[in-house]
Symmetry: C2
């Protein structure tokens, strides 16, 4: 990346804005185009998720491997994870989980979710082991609240679970990974702790189904990893190692970052000093944060706004609607009305507050039902998992031109 | 060390002979003196093992911590291990296990034995995971044949066992260990695999009783590690980390290397091209190896031998008797007769063959009784362990002057 932008799995900072196309070129990933979205729909018989159609999940690597396998009637599984470092997840954290839940339905897939309490212990100096493990279970509640099917989902804490087939697979990855490879990909070196240096192997290993004999027996099952783009290096590494180990290369699908409130081209993050919307925020907090902090692309004065309209490309409320307002027609109307200056900044912010609060409120209601006993059920390794595939009518698909007419990349061009 | 001697946990090579006193100075260990041997006997109420009296276990670090704990009526445990890289152990491999069995009796201690199949997979390129694991179980038979008490002994394979409290302790060690520390102690760097770089943390962690909640619950139990001197760096590291983690520093006791057949000052090793005595060798093989390969300190001609006597300092058969002939009086007689030239080289070799074959034969008989089911029993983590202490009469001790009269260091001076 250029000097002002730094993207690692632990840190995303930019002064110039993130050039996503440049980033995926450097990572060796592919952009997702309309043709791939069409194939996704045809194969899964599911209408593409708005985030697929709107270019939020914008990049992939070998997604076709997962589609091919599914098309042949083979099982695929999804792998994602969470580093438990805060009491509650924020809105940006939810994006990969909400999308993974969608993919679980689309592929009838088992989902494996790694809670990386060990990683957070390595990278957060003041965190104790017990606290990291406690946060893992708290965060699991937020994840379960996304609606993952119990019979098809295993959530595990590394501190509790590393061992057995998972450790065997980690050991294989650790032998194939040199210190120089870790340095080249992650910038870690001998000044880091051994925990930090070895950590990428622990994150890469679950992309091979051999890690989970309790779920897959000894089957080699194709893995698909949904993630934000900054996590891709782990799976670039996993793909390199897969060849050496004779395992299936994991397929990946990557999202952009949910923008921070202050800056469309920055990442929403709870580690910086900036404000983010947490999933346990009150209505007042959500409302205040969007009203006071969300950067507006509207005119500085009412007159300027009416004359020139809003600049959607930099407008944070609009981008949040792009994420969380499902209704395509309504979104298109807002883009047109606000972009032309007929809709005011206060109005789009009001709409954004309503839409975002709706997501947060529904999440809070769902999370309230997730007891510690339910968390234990999701984390129980000793149970049978449902590998079956539901019958799905092809009628559930959207029309081709319907979604293609709306497939666009709001970061590089936008539709009025 | 000087340029011609290299000692790491993986490699011992020397052209000049190993200067053990220099080595322990560099490691920061202490020599074992007569005073400490006396205290050991007083506290454990056991006669000192010949290897303690004869300076074979010649060095320690904080052995008094273990003696103090035992004296206060507290439990201590012993930790040792084996990297399973060959089908059978050789005579040199047996030394720490035979001594650990003695210490188990002396301290009524639980013994924890780590089979490092993961390590061997990292360091031996052609070894597969399954083969490493199979060798671990084969080698466990040799270890069990030393007579460890089932109720007080847990043998575990890392590949099968890492996880739970063991993994939690490893994680704590991995956070405290920087890459530079690993480089400084072991000479490993970014050109090594992550498996190799992280390996020392996996070997150090079992020196803390927190690693074994199945055996010790949440008790902090003093650990004593018997080992050959080349393994000390792991525990120097463990001792440094113990302070940071608030755990008890492990105490250690170190042996010299069993000499190779060719050279008193070299280490018996199965990885080089030199011949060693394996525990599954036939009588003919043992006999041939000692007759043909064991370096003699006797005179080159009969006349020279009768005139000058044998040089015991470099005589390999004599050193093997020092290890394996328990009878002090007989050993003293041989030293006098052979050293003065009255006993011939062929005679001491015959005696050595008899003594060594006796050790090998008894081992083979004991090992034959060790079935896979018995190995499973020793490796079962889910059982209760016996932490009790037997009552022992003080009468079992040897006289002070009896053992002190024979306490000597055969590498630096020898008694006629």
């Amino acid at each position: 990346m250029d000097g002002e932008t730094k993207i690692t799995p632990w840190e995303v900072t930019t002064t110039t804005g993130i050039d996503y196309l440049k980033l995926i070129r450097e990572f060796g990933c592919e952009p997702i185009d309309g043709k791939l979205v069409r194939r996704f729909e045809r194969v899964t018989r599911m209408k593409a998720h708005p985030w697929l159609r709107r270019g939020i999940f914008f990049s992939h690597k070998d997604l076709n491997l997962a589609l091919d396998a599914y098309e042949r009637g083979e099982e695929i599984y999804l792998y994602t994870g969470r580093g438990p470092s805060s009491e509650s997840l924020h809105l940006g954290h939810m994006v990969p989980f909400m999308f993974t839940k969608y993919l679980q339905d689309a592929f009838d897939a088992v989902v494996i979710i790694q809670m990386t309490d060990d990683e957070k212990y390595y990278f957060k100096e003041k965190l104790t082991l017990d606290e990291a493990n406690r946060l893992a279970k708290e965060n699991a509640k937020d994840i379960i609240a996304c609606g993952f099917t119990l019979e098809k989902t295993w959530i595990f804490s590394n501190l509790e679970t590393v061992g057995g087939s998972l450790y065997r697979t980690i050991v294989q990855v650790m032998r194939q990974t040199s210190g120089n490879l870790i340095k080249g990909i992650y910038g870690l070196d001998l000044n880091n702790s051994i925990g930090q240096l070895s950590w990428p192997c622990f994150q890469a290993a679950p992309a091979f189904s051999t890690a989970f004999s309790n779920v897959f027996g000894d089957q080699h099952v194709q893995c698909l990893v949904p993630m934000a783009i900054d996590q891709y290096p782990y799976f670039r590494m996993a793909r390199q190692i897969a060849e050496k180990l004779g395992y299936k290369k994991p397929a990946t699908i990557q999202s952009r970052f949910l923008p921070s409130l202050e800056q469309v081209h920055d990442k929403a993050s709870s580690t910086g000093s900036k404000e983010v919307i947490f999933m346990n925020d009150s209505h007042d907090a959500v409302s205040r944060k969007i009203r006071e902090k969300a950067f507006s692309g509207g005119g500085l004065t009412r007159q300027e706004h009416v004359e020139k309209g809003a600049n959607l490309t930099v407008d944070v409320p609009y981008h949040y609607l792009l994420y969380f307002l499902d209704n395509d027609n309504e979104l298109r109307d807002i883009a047109r009305e606000y972009g032309s200056g007929r809709m005011m900044t206060s109005e789009i912010k009001k709409k954004t507050i309503e839409v975002v609060w709706n997501v947060v409120r529904e999440h809070q209601e769902a999370r309230r039902l997730v007891t510690s006993e339910i968390v234990q059920q999701y984390m129980d390794p000793n149970r049978s998992f449902d590998h079956s595939r539901r019958h799905r009518e092809i009628g559930e698909l959207s029309e081709e031109d319907q979604h293609l007419g709306f497939h666009f990349d709001p970061y590089f061009r936008h539709v009025p």
